[in-house]
Every structure is written in structure tokens, then in C-alpha cells.
């Protein structure tokens, strides 16, 4: 059990790491187009910390990331990421608890789940809006995942550094 100050410190460090990733996405990745898509880091920011921190804190953190994404990004509907990212966080945390130990492989699995859910939700919304485009959604999801997947490694190591720094006694 961490003391209150340590808890504040830990989540401040997580927030700083996430802010850095937001900065990289906005300043750099957004300007790169590969296979017709831009690398999309945000689902990783929900999945990777959750893999290290467990279901409840991870889901809450993912929820916060989702709220920020909804505030900054134009979405299919206003609370798209707020609804999606807690599920992503929960999923990544459950993978780390029951299937794979937290690390690059676990992050990759969580990220895969995140992009699958994101693609599925987007496809579902298009279908509900009468503009069904399942194959196009699947294509974009696949390309988006392939372009973003290499970034799982640096993001995982960033959050792992934060986790190790803040769980010295564990």
C-alpha cells in the first residue's frame, strides 16, 4: 500500500509520461502518413499503464485519457473515447493479470484488443448511422494497428520506467 504522497507522485509521473506521448502524437506522428493512415498512439496510452497498474487504477486512468481524447479529438460521437478507453484499460489489465506478465508482449496484446475494439465501435457507429462500411473499417483498423504497433515498445518502456520508479518497494 503506497502512502498518499507516493500515490500522488506515481500518478503525476504517469500523467507526465502521457502528456509527453500526447506531445509526440500532436507534434510529430500526426504529420506522418503511412499506408494512408497516421500512427495513432492514444489507445496505447489507455492500454499500457493499465497493464502495469491493474484493473481498477488502470481503468480509471484509461477513463481520464479517454476524456482528454474526447476533448481534443473530433470523434464519431462526443464521448466515444470516454466509453472505449476504460474497456481497453480493463482488457489490458486483465490480460496482464491472467495471461501475460506486463511487458512489451502484454502491451502488444492490449493494443491489439484496443484497436480491435476501436475498429469495431467505429464500424458499428457507421452501421447505425446508415453508412455501413465494415470492410473499409477493417482495412483502416488493420493499417492503423500495423503502423502503430512498433510504437508499443518505446511506450511500454516509458511506462515501465515510471512503474519501476514508483514501485521501488514492491
Amino acid at each position: 500500500m503506497l502512502a498518499r504522497n507516493e500515490t500522488i507522485f506515481k500518478w503525476t509521473l504517469y500523467a507526465a509520461a502521457t502528456a509527453l506521448c500526447f506531445l509526440i502524437q500532436g507534434a510529430l506522428l500526426q504529420r506522418i502518413t503511412v499506408w494512408g493512415v497516421i500512427p495513432f498512439l492514444y489507445p496505447l496510452l489507455a492500454a499500457v499503464p493499465a497493464a502495469y497498474e491493474g484493473p481498477v487504477p488502470g481503468t480509471v486512468f484509461a477513463l481520464a485519457v479517454g476524456v482528454i481524447c474526447d476533448l481534443l479529438l473530433p470523434g464519431a460521437f462526443p464521448c466515444f473515447y470516454t466509453l472505449l478507453f476504460p474497456l481497453v484499460g480493463l482488457c489490458a489489465a486483465l490480460i496482464s493479470r491472467s495471461l501475460l506478465p506486463a511487458g512489451p508482449l502484454c502491451s502488444l496484446a492490449g493494443t491489439t484488443a484496443a484497436f480491435l475494439m476501436s475498429g469495431l465501435f467505429h464500424g458499428l457507429l457507421l452501421w447505425l448511422g446508415g453508412k455501413s462500411a465494415w470492410s473499409a473499417s477493417a482495412s483502416v483498423t488493420l493499417r492503423e494497428f500495423c503502423v502503430t504497433a512498433p510504437l508499443v515498445i518505446p511506450v511500454t518502456y516509458l511506462y515501465r520506467a515510471v512503474c519501476r520508479r514508483t514501485h521501488l518497494d514492491d
Binding site: Q30, G36, L72, L73, G75, A76, K131, A133, V140
Partner: protein, 280 residues
């Protein structure tokens, strides 16, 4: 030696005096240097040459250093001046481009007197997600920009519609976004339809013109403009041109694939139509 000088000193002095007088007389009577002077200078001449060579070498080095320093300073000054001039050229180029855009806009204002209030805005961000096609502008509610306003380029071609407007920013959904839907008309034939974004076409920067009659006679390259029906958007703004016409699954209607007139990636500055007059 002491004894020699004591015994013969007077003779030596005398001999020296005689030699000096003789040399002086010879020098006065001769046009060339005296033999002793000549001999002394012959001996000294190589040394003089050496001194001169060394002095010249030092002078050269000194001059070289002084010249190099001066040239470096001059070079730095010239580089600075070139950078300033390049900056001026860049500013002039930007001003020229802006001038051209404003001139086009002025022409557009002359042609389109119904577009009564237009606000120029710069694009601060292009697409931020793979699921929407949007632009972020640097103008917002303080500049009178509101959701639902049309955004055009300097030629009057439609870029998109403002979807969200903040204090000093606004988001434009481009024509190819899936949430885009607006009344359109084929300029040549007058056929009416609904121009709307389609996710399958968004990646190819295309949109659909739906609800055309099955027998419509559209040709590739036909210009499609806003219909203005309903009064939501001004009429006659260029959306794009017909690329291909296809019959839908029911066979009762056809649709066209449109290529937007605007190249969204190349846009830097756009114009927001804040208000317009409905032309009866």
C-alpha cells in the same frame, strides 16, 4: 700585445691614418665603391637578403592574418545580410501568396455579393484521426465563427462545414468526412442530389452524390455545386466534379463519385462564410 702597442702603437696609428687618407682619396677619385667598403658589403649582402626574406615572410604572415580576419568578418556580415535578405524574400513570397489569395477572394466577393460576411482563417492542424477528415482553424466565436458556417477556399470552392467552434479555434469537417451531408446540384444538368461523405471513399478523398434519378445523364467532369435548398448553406459553392456514375443496389436510383475541387492537404488559409443572403 701591451708591449707591442707601447712600442709600435704610434706606427700603427700612423699607418691607419695613411690608409684612411688613401682610401678617402681613392674613394673621391673613383666612381665605384672603395675596396674595403666593397668587401664589407659583399660580406654583409647575404645577411641583408636573409634579414629581408625573414622580414618579408613575417610581413606576409601578418598581412595574411589581417586579411583572413577581415575576410572572415566580411563573410560573416555578408552571410547575415544574405539571411536577412532571404527572410525578406520569404516574407515577400508569403505576402505575395496572401495577396493573390485576397485578390481571388476580392474577385469572389465581386462575383458573389450574397456572401456578405467572410472571415479569413489559417489552418493550424490537419487530420488528427484516421476516422474523421477534419481541419482546425485559428478563428472561433470571438471572430463570429459558428458551427454550421461554410468554409471555402479563395476560389469559392467548398472546403467543409464548421462542426465545433471554440473561443479562438474551430473544427471544420471536410467534404469527405462521414458526417458531411449537404444539398447539391449538377451545374450542367440541374440534377439535384445529396452530397455526403462515405467512409469507404474517405481514404481516397472522394465523396458520394446520392439520390440521383436512375436516368440522370451525368458525364465525368460535370461540376457539382451546393444547391442552397433549405437556406442552410449558400448556393453555387463548388463541391467538386463527377468522377464516375453508378446505379445503386435497388436499381431505382444512381449515385456519383465526386472528386472535391479542393486539395485539403495543400490548404493553408481558408475563408469562413459567417452570413450570406438567400438569393430568391
Amino acid at each position: 700585445m701591451k708591449d707591442f702597442l707601447k712600442n709600435h702603437g704610434l706606427w700603427v696609428l700612423f699607418a691607419a691614418a695613411v690608409i684612411s687618407v688613401a682610401l678617402a682619396v681613392m674613394s673621391a677619385l673613383s666612381n665605384t665603391a672603395a675596396p674595403l667598403t666593397n668587401a664589407a658589403n659583399i660580406v654583409a649582402s647575404p645577411f641583408r637578403s636573409a634579414y629581408t626574406a625573414i622580414a618579408t615572410w613575417f610581413n606576409d604572415k601578418q598581412n595574411y592574418y589581417r586579411d583572413t580576419t577581415a575576410l572572415e568578418e566580411e563573410n560573416a556580415a555578408l552571410r547575415k545580410r544574405i539571411a536577412e535578405m532571404e527572410e525578406t524574400v520569404r516574407q515577400a513570397e508569403a505576402a505575395l501568396a496572401e495577396n493573390a489569395r485576397l485578390r481571388d477572394l476580392n474577385d469572389l466577393r465581386e462575383q458573389r455579393r450574397d456572401l456578405s460576411d467572410i472571415e479569413a482563417a489559417y489552418i493550424t492542424e490537419h487530420d488528427v484521426s484516421n476516422w474523421t477528415s477534419s481541419l482546425t482553424l485559428n478563428k472561433g466565436t470571438v471572430h463570429g465563427v459558428e458551427a454550421g458556417d461554410c468554409v471555402i477556399d479563395e476560389t469559392g470552392a467548398l472546403v467543409g462545414i464548421i462542426s465545433v467552434s471554440g473561443t479562438n479555434w474551430s473544427t471544420v469537417l471536410t467534404l469527405v468526412d462521414t458526417d458531411m451531408s449537404l444539398g447539391a446540384q449538377v451545374f450542367r444538368t440541374g440534377d439535384l442530389g445529396l452530397a455526403q461523405g462515405d467512409f469507404s471513399l474517405m481514404g481516397k478523398v472522394r465523396l458520394r452524390l446520392d439520390y440521383l434519378s436512375a436516368g440522370c445523364q451525368l458525364l465525368g467532369g460535370d461540376l457539382v455545386v451546393t444547391s442552397g435548398l433549405g437556406g442552410y448553406y449558400p448556393e453555387g459553392l463548388v463541391i467538386g466534379s463527377v468522377e464516375e456514375v453508378q446505379v445503386d443496389d435497388s436499381g431505382a436510383a444512381s449515385y456519383a463519385i465526386l472528386a472535391p475541387q479542393v486539395s485539403f492537404d495543400d490548404l493553408e488559409e481558408v475563408f469562413v462564410i459567417k452570413s450570406f443572403d438567400i438569393v430568391p
